[in-house]
Symmetry: C2
Subunit: 326 residues, 2 copies
């Protein structure tokens, strides 16, 4: 299976690394809007190409993994590329998924290709767990918690404040809320009760720290609805202690069965990830295998993690799966 | 969707209860090897029938859920019934799954029917989680822990000892082993290190308790390889404190990504169940929906949880899934 990577940021690099862990795949090359000569790939034999030339390589790539941002890149890129390639992306603007799905589905069908969108961990593995748990326990309630992990969007929002040089924001689930959910009482939780926000900020020398802190904690949408803690640290401390991109979270469903709902059950799925982009990339690569197989079988159009049978992700034979995993 | 239940023990009763939680399903009836008049169903309009008459009702049942034991019932029942009905079972003798699969597949294909075997939580949801996690983190290691929960087989083994009136055995995961696994160190764990066994035993008056305890803790396969604790209690205490059938467990995979495996990740799935048979039944009923849909689409033969796309389990429309779950 020959894989192309479109976009070479953290996610694209993660895909390159993930391909090395899957012996049935090889990296054909990376497509970039930057100067291809400026890219240093980690894979022997793979080359960097100009993004604009991609259609030249239609017959060389079995699945193209599109590693762009959800805000402006993917809504344009994925439909455009799905006409010519089997594609997969990690589109994560939850509210716009139906629209993105429709656009990609139309393009893929036009080209006789197979696409998968919104593949990663949320949307992705967390979505799958919400679906499975909801089907098993129809009388129940599910909760998603994120963290402890770095939110790029919130870190960026802090960096835009006057006097801020750099910042790192962690989203943290509240232990007491997790405990209340696990108890099976089905609590109603406010935004503030579920997560806190922890900020490490590097300020310019002489900046008004009280004003920066006030601007952070009162920022609408991003921070005002949360209990937010701000720590001012040096650039050296930020680079030393906060250079990773960890993330994770929990999907928990509690529900009941029995004649009177007398038996309580809890299903919990959790992730703890040292590298958010590398884990997302690993999910993308597993689903790239499925996209290729679906296309080989003539199943064209846009798919999501809900539409793909688990066996299609696996390098194992049916016999191995039945004997060792079931 | 009209559901038939074949066998009316704990699992069959659980299926009857689960059907009530799924508005797109109705219970046609229960088939029993006992006298049908002796069964008191909980569902208005559903009837009990003699198992031997089942073929008469071929056209009345969309999916037949077979609720027999794995040791002797299912290896015979499921292939025999798969010729005439869409069927599903919870066959859980892991080592015999390939053989059972082949027999059911041949029978279902002969009859143009769809079957699903080994559906429940282990095999079932735990298997799915082993598969997904292994595909995402190929460089890693997975662990399955069971409990705290009642093992029927181990309880039965104790009851066969001379002088024992009744017994209840709990399988318990060892916290220190769970912690070692979660740390990501990928420990090699012996049987004894992973689980302990906790036994509550009601002995005959005047029985030699020391001998009973010795016979339990030294029993090959069942107890000899474990640290086992035996408590003698009264029949009243057993009935009062140990009448439930709770179970649960953990599937944990730890693995690494990066150029040198420098980023560690942990995927954990866990269940905590008040009623093992009612939860298993709830999984069976969700997969019965998928079996029906697969057959409607002409996808015949035997399937497992690996072969079934998650969307086929859900009562929700594609639009609802994309908008609210993904």
């Amino acid at each position: 299976m020959r894989i192309g990577i479109y976009g070479y940021g953290n996610l694209g690099k993660g895909v390159e690394l993930a391909i090395r862990q899957n012996p049935d795949m090889e990296l054909f090359g990376v497509f970039t809007r930057r100067d291809p000569a400026s890219l240093k790939l980690m894979t022997d034999g793979a080359k960097a190409y100009a993004a604009q030339d991609i259609e030249t390589y239609k017959d060389d790539i079995d699945v193209l993994i599109i590693c762009g941002g959800s805000a402006t890149d993917l809504p344009v890129m994925t439909p455009a590329l799905a006409k010519h390639f089997n594609v997969i992306d990690s589109f994560d603007t939850h509210a716009d998924i139906p629209k993105h799905f429709a656009a990609v589905d139309a393009a893929a069908r036009e080209g006789g290709k197979t696409a998968a969108i919104s593949v990663g961990w949320d949307p992705g593995m967390f979505s799958l767990n919400r679906l499975y748990a909801g089907c098993i326990l129809p009388d129940g309630k599910d909760y998603t918690f994120w963290g402890k992990g770095v939110s790029q969007g919130h870190s960026d929002a802090i960096r835009r404040i006057d006097g801020v040089i750099d910042a790192r924001q962690y989203t943290c689930p509240v232990e007491a809320a997790l405990d209340a959910v696990r108890s099976g009482e089905g609590p109603e939780l406010t935004t503030r009760e579920k997560h806190t926000r922890l900020c490490y900020v590097v300020a310019e020398e002489g900046a008004d720290l009280a004003r920066i802190e006030r601007e952070i904690v009162t920022m609408p949408k991003y921070f005002a609805d949360y209990d937010t803690t701000v720590h001012f640290i040096s650039k050296e401390e930020l680079d030393r202690d906060h250079k990773g991109i960890p993330h994770g979270g929990f999907v928990i469903r509690t529900g009941s069965t029995g004649l009177y709902g007398e038996h309580k059950h809890r299903i919990e799925y959790s992730l703890q990830l040292d590298s958010n982009p590398e884990f997302t990339s690993s999910v993308l690569v597993a689903y790239a295998r499925a996209v290729y197989r679906l296309n080989q079988r003539g199943e064209i159009g846009c798919k999501t993690v809900f539409d793909i049978a688990p066996a299609d992700l696996s390098i194992l034979s049916r016999e191995e799966m039945l004997a060792h995993l079931l």
